[in-house]
């Protein structure tokens, strides 16, 4: 099977039953994407497929041979961090770091959904969506963090999204 991951082509021969998550971790050696539950219940395995965030444990790798797959390693590197990665460091949006790649990929995908105008459960209006801390928390709730860095994660995302403190308050009010 052939996969395009972080802009590079990989030829691997995984088991036909392999999830996208296991192919990334066990066959391509990209272990930045984490396995927390293997059941779509924690978000640790979140990657971006054709720009959309998905739980890579819930999908078979074989279904993604023509897709554009972006993982945490493709977002930025340790010496050249993506702004979302840098914001997580600055705001201490993690502790053990295990849920972190999933949180970061999810945050990047989530901001794009907001940009496209997709409403959420807490959106006041369906046709004009604006970001607030409540919106961030709601939209990020598929990513669990047992270390419970949630407030710091929201701060990091909010900074990257360009929300000023005044906007945040206005939107939350």
């Amino acid at each position: 099977m052939q996969f395009t991951i972080n802009g590079e082509t990989h030829d691997v021969e995984p088991d036909i039953r392999a999830s996208l998550l296991d192919v990334l971790r066990e066959h391509v050696g990209l272990t930045g994407t984490k396995k927390g539950c293997d059941h779509g219940q924690c978000g640790a395995c979140t990657v971006l497929v054709n720009g959309r965030r998905i739980n890579s444990c819930l999908t078979l790798a074989v279904m993604h041979q023509d897709d554009d797959i972006l993982t945490i390693e493709g977002l930025g590197s340790a010496d050249n961090l993506h702004p979302m990665q840098a914001a997580f460091v600055k705001h201490d949006g993690y502790q053990c770091g295990y849920c972190t790649p999933g949180q970061i990929c999810s945050a990047v995908g989530m901001l794009d959904e907001v940009k496209k105008g997709w409403p959420s459960h807490v959106s006041d209006k369906l046709d004009s969506v604006s970001l607030s801390n409540d919106e961030i928390s709601e939209r990020m709730s598929g990513n669990l963090c047992r270390c419970s860095a949630y407030p710091n994660i929201v701060d990091a995302i909010s900074e990257v999204s360009g929300l000023t403190p005044a906007q945040k308050e206005a939107a939350d009010a």
Partner: protein
């Protein structure tokens, strides 16, 4: 070697004279870039050369009985399967805590017990093989109901941290009191639910075993693993450079032992990660608790008696007891005191340590009861607590090392706006929401354990810290670097911290909130030796020498450290151990928790609107990371108050909600903005660096602040945790 036993206070460290200005600063995590870019490798992710095999654990669908036979033929016939191991006497039944877990799969003593492992060339094949194994079981009736077994309960084990204790006559005090509270509070089974499952990779080279895993206390795990596998400890090396959360659960997982056994049998490295559902039944849980609290007070609001008597459960052969009353023992003054524990043995996975054993659940009950008593007396809950502040440890009479509970209460009250709280419940409305404020005290005993670290200053002027201490997300990499940088006068980027390898000096490990104090002291002590040598070479008294930015300054001379070190690196071993100060002083960290909640008057749904934690935990080593520890604990408090419960099926002894979809932990949307304030008092009696434990303090009382706020919002007092909406709904006032 700088070896210090805490029989007296330390006379003053180089750390205290440091002018580098990094200690306490809110620096970013030093390993941060590695974690956010996905290149930090956790145990299971260690790259291996050559052929690797995958293991998947086989578990039994029964809670009690004997296995009379296995059928592994189908499994063995599947493509890619290398072995199906069900006949090795070393197969552990569950996770080990302090001693090896019981081994052998003939007897089943709890639901979903591990009985073997399937090994294959792929994860998918191993999983399929494990699920294809069938077994015949002669079942027996199990017992799963704690209170039904209370008649056969036993008392605290001899080596338990907490023994039963009593002072005065509790019955007489209750009979004589002006106001009393006598209530039972219950908390359910709870699990660690670290995001990273227990996972290990075992590699044999000849008779030497290397384990890449995710463990909290490596030197202890090494001994347990060696015994479990049947080899000498010096043939074992464990590496855990990154750990995806521990919370007390990662002492030695069963998958580590099985990976070692399997790797021995198939002749190649074996990787095993436990499935999420398997963690619920094969890693020790936090016991359910049934806590009777009796409080008596005179009409002026002085406590005259305090009793905290608990029933907890344990699995077969479990040596641990949840010390439920730990927080109650020295928190409030009262002449009559009574603390007991009963342990009921059930046919369940063992009970063990989960973040803040004792206080995490004991303080839910105690601090609710105190709120009830304050109300019965018509007193403000903060005033009531201040009125009953003990001058010395009320059980032993020992002085407190440091204690700033009152300061935390006062500062918190002001910052949170406590004066705006309506003293009567149900007074504040916001649309269909009822709004309330609550508070609780926080306390966590303070520990110090043996810990060693080596510090090496090299000719290039860089320092290297080495210890088998771990960083489970607590910030160890960063704070040990800060301690060394401050002591030696080095910029942070000139300090390398190497952790999580049993080939390094044995450190404290992570647990009981003793990590920062113990490992930090060992690093500071090692630096003492290096500073002494540098001073000698500067021909100065260490106290007259300043170390800053990689230079030593004394007597009008400023010399680069690289020059002072010369061609041979300077190395020193620091060692701390607990001493008589543990007895001379009553040691604990304290705090005050505040919460504002909204209770929906129609549905009973609870939303936490804001929280404040004010904590006194000795010296704060890194303001940013300390705050993160604090908010983490407070959020666990939200979980314990509102949602966490492993629901036990009384027919089968199985947790029905054994996954992260149904075992609810707080998620983003459950968590409001959190505010944290530290009241810093350096505790010189506790350890040389004056630090007290923080990670567990912050969970203590947090849940009770939430549930007391629920009462203040709507007047419903629920004593059966967690406070899910069904328990609140019936008591809501008419609309």
């Amino acid at each position: 070697m700088a070896d210090f036993k805490m029989d007296a206070d330390h006379s003053g460290l180089a750390l205290e004279r440091g002018v580098q200005g990094v200690l306490g600063a809110g620096l970013d995590r030093s390993e941060g870039a590695l974690k956010v870019s996905g290149v930090a490798r956790y145990g299971y992710e260690h790259p291996l050369a050559g052929e690797v095999a995958y293991g998947y654990l086989i578990t039994a669908p029964a809670a009690k009985g004997r296995i009379t036979g296995f059928d592994t033929d189908t499994a063995r016939g599947l493509p890619g399967v290398l072995d199906v191991i069900v006949d090795d006497p070393r197969i552990p039944r569950q996770a080990a805590a302090f001693v090896p877990a019981h081994a052998g799969n003939d007897e089943i003593d709890h639901w979903d017990q591990i009985v073997g492992v399937a090994v294959a060339t792929s994860f998918e094949a191993a999983r399929d093989a494990a699920k294809s194994v069938t077994m015949t079981i002669a079942p027996e009736q199990g017992h799963f109901d704690t209170m039904a077994g209370v008649g056969d309960a036993s008392g605290p084990p001899k080596d338990s941290r907490l023994q039963d204790m009593a002072k005065g006559d509790i019955d007489a005090a209750m009979a004589d009191a002006a106001v009393t509270i006598d209530q039972v509070y219950t908390t359910p089974n709870q699990v660690h639910a670290a995001m990273e499952p227990h996972a290990s990779v075992a590699v044999w080279e000849g008779d030497t075993l290397t384990l890449h895993s995710s463990l909290q206390i490596l030197h202890a795990a090494k001994g347990i693993l060696a015994k479990s596998v049947g080899i000498e400890a010096d043939k074992v090396r464990i590496l855990s450079p990154y750990i995806g959360g521990g919370f007390g659960g990662k002492m030695l997982g069963p998958e580590a032992v099985l990976a070692a056994i399997a790797a021995q049998k198939v002749g190649r490295p074996v990787k095993i990660a436990m499935a999420r559902s398997q963690l619920f039944h094969n890693v020790y849980r936090r016991t359910d608790t049934h806590q009777r609290i009796r409080l008596a007070a005179d009409k002026d609001g002085k406590l005259t008696a305090l009793a905290h008597d608990s029933v907890v459960s344990q699995g077969p052969d479990g040596g641990f007891m949840e010390p439920v009353a730990l927080g109650s023992i020295a928190l409030y003054d009262a002449p009559v005191r009574h603390f007991t524990h009963k342990i009921v043995t059930l046919d369940m996975v063992q009970a063990g340590a989960v973040r803040a054993p004792g206080e995490a659940v004991g303080m839910l009950a105690l601090e609710t009861a105190i709120d009830e008593l304050a109300e019965a007396l018509g007193r403000d809950p903060i005033d009531f607590r201040k009125l009953n502040e003990p001058p010395v440890d009320p059980m032993t009479g020992a002085p407190f090392s440091t204690r700033a509970l009152v300061e935390c209460l006062d500062k918190g009250a002001e910052r949170f706006g406590w004066a705006n709280r309506a003293s009567q419940p149900g007074q504040v409305r916001d649309g269909e929401w009822l709004i309330g404020m609550g508070m609780a005290a926080a306390v966590r005993i303070n520990l110090l354990v043996d810990s060693q670290a080596r510090v090496t200053l090299s000719p290039d002027g860089r320092a290297r810290i080495e210890t088998d201490m771990t960083d489970i997300g607590t910030g160890t990499y960063t704070i040990l670097g800060q301690i060394a940088a401050e002591s030696l006068g080095l910029p942070m980027d000139c300090v390398d911290v190497i952790l999580g390898d049993t080939d390094l000096p044995p450190g404290a490990g992570s647990g009981g909130s003793f990590g920062a104090a113990s490992a930090g002291s060992s690093v500071a002590l090692a630096c003492e030796d290096i500073v002494a040598t540098l001073a000698e070479r500067m021909q100065a008294d260490p106290k007259d020498m300043t170390l800053k930015d990689g230079h030593a300054i004394a007597g009008n001379r400023r010399v680069p450290l690289s020059e002072l070190v010369g061609s041979e690196p300077l190395a020193a071993l620091g060692k701390i151990s607990q001493g008589s100060n543990a007895k001379t002083f009553s040691q604990a960290a304290h705090g005050a928790q505040f919460a504002e909640v909204a209770v929906n008057s129609v549905t009973g749904e609870v939303r936490v609107r804001r929280m404040l934690g004010v904590f006194e935990a000795g010296r704060i080593l890194n303001a940013k990371l300390a705050r993160s520890q604090a908010i983490g604990g407070m959020i666990w408090g939200i979980g314990y108050a509102l949602m966490e419960e492993a629901v036990l099926d009384q027919r089968h002894g199985a947790f029905v909600n054994h996954d992260l979809g149904e075992y609810h932990i707080p998620s983003h949307a459950d968590v409001p903005p959190l505010d944290v304030l530290f009241v810093e008092h350096i505790d010189r009696h506790a350890n040389p660096i004056g630090v007290k434990g923080l990670g567990e303090l912050s969970i203590s009382g947090a849940g009770a602040a939430v549930t007391n706020a629920i009462y203040n919002a709507c007047g419903v007092r629920v004593r059966d945790f967690p406070l899910t909406l069904d328990k609140i709904l019936g008591g809501l006032p008419d609309m």
